[in-house]
């Protein structure tokens, strides 16, 4: 029988009291633990948490700096900034995204083909961040949206600074453009410096001087709540928030003269080609034309895939910068430097006459080299050979000089190497030599240099290729009798606030040495002959100044040994490229240039008249007389 337990009140009271004491002790320990924890959080790690809390509540909102302006040498704006209306959308405030976008398509505010792309962009943005969905709205677009605004919660029209090119296509290949920052760009820019801007310079001056143009971002500290939305107050208080004004980018003063640039573009209009005009005394780029061009504005406002496709697939390649990247055989424009080589190496007597019967027989070979258009120049000396561009004379001269001497002599004139112009992308062209050929070809049979190739070299055909920029550079070296200046587009910086101008010193590229002054003079005389009595006499007629030039015709299409070139019979695209180089005034040069017209035929007929117009535009005053030297 189990023991019956009887309730013992005193014992139970004591037991309860003991338990109460134990519980109180446990509670005390727990409380101390809690206080220790509070001490850790609020005293020991206070700094850490205070920082986290500050990071929580304050967001740095970048204020993009105004991009520097780009001006021509007379201060005319080539690239500026313009406020533009754009349609922006806050994802979280739009109830029906797809429906909204569809409706915008119906209103012709966005394009149907862009909807997918836009949806992707919207999905990858933060819900409360404003996403631009249509840039550069016209006044009409703005009005069309404004009357229906009530239908579109979460959409608003904002004003943003956008790049503005008042002259559209003018000088686009020198300027470049600004476009959306690409994955590629992100690799080499400081992301923080580009917060708040979606655009970056691409190509040309816009890209090369990106750092100067961009300026420095300002910022505004914004109080944000937990969802990242900016708020004005924090509870009952408005905290002290800092702001730093942005530092506007520097303005760039280009060496380009827009008047000359316009003249050159107008003269070349309707053709493919390039014009590069330099100041031979300091390397200033007076004009840099590559046609066709494109309107850089469309990249800034966001080019559509279809627009880009049109540019890409255009048979005339408007995106291609012919002036810097187009490489062509220089044709007869190399004759002055070949002549200089002949004189310097004393392999030619300038007074000696040779007889030109329209054909050259390479000694020790059965090959026959013909005169262009099968002309017969008769008896020619060096001066005549340059002025009338006698191929036979230079075939012989090149053969005597040999490839090694020609290549060595031409290198200091910038053949085969970049000019060092201050924008990127220029091609070096090819200055062929025995070594070059050995490297350039893989088949041993092709690696051997043939004497016939030297003969072609002498009239600028064959492997030798140059860019229009290189030829202009070469013309300017002859103009200054050997002085080399690195071409540059940016002549000065201007502080946007003070207006203070900081000149960029011209960079010397050294000098071509070892050529006797009288030899320079002989060749220049021959080149003056080109424009007075030679191949380009028509273009040189009635000039208010004397100018030296040289025509060139680059073969696109190889004419077989026994065939004759007939421009009328072959397609326009296979016709010869037309070259002309010149500098003026001949004895005191202020401008040197190269003109290329693709498939323009002979240099004298297409390129030379363009060059004359450019020279006139630069050198003549309103009265049609030579402007005094400044």
């Amino acid at each position: 029988m189990p023991a019956v337990r009887i309730k013992d009140h005193w014992r139970e009271q004591r037991l309860f009291d003991q338990r109460s004491v134990v519980c109180a002790a446990i509670m005390a320990v727990a409380t101390v633990g809690l206080i220790v924890r509070l001490f850790v959080l609020q005293v020991a790690r206070h700094e850490y948490y205070a920082e986290l809390s500050q990071g929580n509540r304050v967001r740095n909102e970048p204020i993009p700096a105004a991009r520097g302006l780009i001006l021509d040498r007379h201060g005319e704006v080539i690239a500026g900034n313009q406020p533009a209306y754009q349609l922006e959308l806050v994802p979280e405030e739009v109830p029906e995204m797809h429906q909204t976008l569809t409706r915008l398509v119906q209103l012709d505010l966005i394009r149907a083909e862009d909807v997918d792309e836009l949806e992707r962009t919207i999905d990858s943005s933060r819900r409360f961040d404003s996403v631009p969905i249509r840039l550069r709205m016209s006044d009409e677009d703005v009005a069309r949206f404004a009357v229906r605004r009530f239908e579109f919660p979460g959409l608003d029209i904002k004003t943003r600074q956008t790049r503005w090119y008042p002259n559209a296509e003018l000088a686009v290949h020198a300027l470049g453009y600004v476009g959306a920052i690409s994955e590629q760009d992100l690799k080499h820019i400081d992301r923080a410096a580009y917060a708040g801007t979606s655009l970056i310079g691409k190509l040309g001056v816009e890209s090369a001087y990106e750092h100067e143009l961009h300026g420095s971002n300002g910022f505004r500290e914004v109080l944000v709540n937990a969802s990242g939305r900016s708020v004005e107050r924090q509870g009952a208080f408005v905290p002290n928030l800092r702001t730093r004004a942005p530092g506007a980018g520097e303005d760039l003063l280009l060496s380009i003269d827009l008047k000359v640039q316009r003249t050159a573009e107008a003269a070349l209009a309707g053709h493919r080609g390039a014009v590069v005009a330099l100041d031979p005394n300091n390397g200033d780029v007076i004009a840099l034309v590559s046609l066709p061009g494109f309107d850089p504005t469309m990249f800034g406002r966001g080019i559509t895939a279809s627009e880009y496709g049109v540019l890409q697939s255009d048979i005339d390649h408007p995106l291609f910068n012919r002036a810097l990247r187009g490489t062509y055989p220089p044709g007869s424009t190399v004759k002055p430097v070949i002549a200089l080589a002949g004189l310097t190496y004393h392999v030619v007597d300038p007074q000696a006459h040779r007889y030109c019967a329209g054909a050259f027989h390479l000694p020790g070979s059965s090959r026959v080299f013909h005169e262009y258009h099968n002309e017969h120049h008769g008896s020619v000396d060096l001066d005549d050979a340059i002025a009338r561009s006698c191929d036979i004379y230079f075939y012989g001269l090149a053969d005597v000089l040999g490839v090694d001497r020609i290549a060595t002599f031409m290198a200091p004139f910038g053949f085969g190497s970049g000019t060092g112009i201050d924008i990127s992308g220029e091609k070096p062209g090819i200055l062929p030599s025995r070594q070059w050929k050995a490297k350039a070809f893989s088949r041993p049979a092709d690696q051997v240099w043939f004497p016939g190739e030297t003969v072609n070299f002498g009239i600028g055909q064959g492997y030798l290729t140059v860019t229009p920029l290189q030829l202009a550079h070469y013309a300017s070296i002859i103009a200054t009798r050997g002085k080399i200046w690195r071409p540059r587009l940016v002549a000065a910086y201007r502080d946007p606030r003070s207006g203070q101008i900081r000149r960029v010193p011209a960079v010397s590229g050294g000098e071509v040495t070892g050529i006797a002054p009288e030899d320079w003079q002989r060749v220049v005389h021959g080149m003056i002959g080109v424009t007075t009595r030679g191949t380009a006499a028509a273009s040189g007629a009635h000039a208010a100044y004397t100018f030296a030039g040289k025509t060139g015709t680059a073969q696109v299409f190889s004419v077989a040994q026994n065939e004759k070139y007939n421009a009328k019979l072959i397609s326009e695209r296979l016709r010869d490229h037309s070259w002309f180089i010149a500098f003026a005034p001949a004895d005191e040069p202020r401008i040197a240039l190269a003109v290329l017209q693709e498939n323009g035929g002979a240099g004298a007929s297409a390129a030379a008249p363009i060059a004359r117009k450019v020279l006139d535009a630069y050198l003549l005053g309103a009265d049609g007389k030579l402007k005094p030297q400044t």
Binding site: R19, A30, L38, V43, A50, S53, R57, R233, G235
Partner: protein, 379 residues
Amino acid sequence: MMYEEVTSGSRTRRTLSGAASVLFELKIDGPLVVGLALIAAFGLVVLYSASGQSTATVVRTALRLLLGTIAMLLLARVNPNFLRRSTPWMYALGCLLLLIVVAIGHVGMGAQRWLNFGLFRFQPSELMKLAVPMMCAWYLHERPLPPGWTSLALLSVLILLPVGLVAIQPDLGTAALIAIAGTLVIILAGLRARVMVAFVALAAVGAWFGWSFMHDYQRKRVLMFLNPQADPLGAGYHIIQSQIAIGSGGVFGKGWMNGSQAQLEFLPERSTDFIFAVIGEEFGLLGLLLLLLLYMFVVGRAIYLATQTQDTFARLLAGSLALTFFVYVFINAGMVTGLLPVVGVPLPLVSYGGSSVVTLLAGFGILMALYSRRKLIGS
């Protein structure tokens, strides 16, 4: 009238004596009421800031406090013997209401904690916070202590039935609190140490078992407690943000209504479960120490009152109510500071919302009733 009317002495003395006699008439314990009032007042001040300067919230809370005070005053006047006799009925009613809630919840799909009586909504689990310890104390009242195995088995059933019903609502926080309130009665009754060890072992097994029945969000809370940094934007967000709030408050705090974590809503549930962090941020360590001091005073006074009662029912119930109050405070503070997992336990008398304020004050009313009639019982 137990006391002589004081007719002489200073004016202050007369006022104090007058107040004492009023309190006695009301069966109210002065120090306890002062402690509770200070906590509630502090709570209202904090709540104004934590709710984003919402006067409506403060007024609603004040009204609930008033309702709770009325419940406290009424219950303080109830005869403990009547209270004890009606305990089984109250318990049975509570269980019935819980069953109804579960049934409705089942039909309505999803979490269901309320019974809607049109005019007001009633949470039966709140009733069980009081009914379960009362039932346990009632059961042990006439039995010899410490309780034997049979008693323990029966008590377990009495506790686990309502706990289970609340847990499947699902409201794990309240279920845990009810279980704790009941268990505390048994412990105070003198549960032997070795039995406690056995129960802890059993609980470990139960925890493993319970894990397999938990909802995903409940499991997440446990996991997040173990490693809050693992998912800073998801489940761990609450704890990280509350620690930032408390830590950034420092010793003196950022000032009333100037806590950026709270005011800019980085701190979730700032006016309810996480209001402790708001105090830490705006009033600093000093504010929290003051609050803890007030709580300790209330708990200490309540335990003292419990030890002064003279029958088993009163002692066990009063002791359990006092200790449960501490448990509320500790669980809430522990969860907000990252010492304990996040369970939905409000900070007593300070957190906004729920009927817990009324239940708490009602519990203190019962405690005062038990204390004030100590001499009438068992004599």
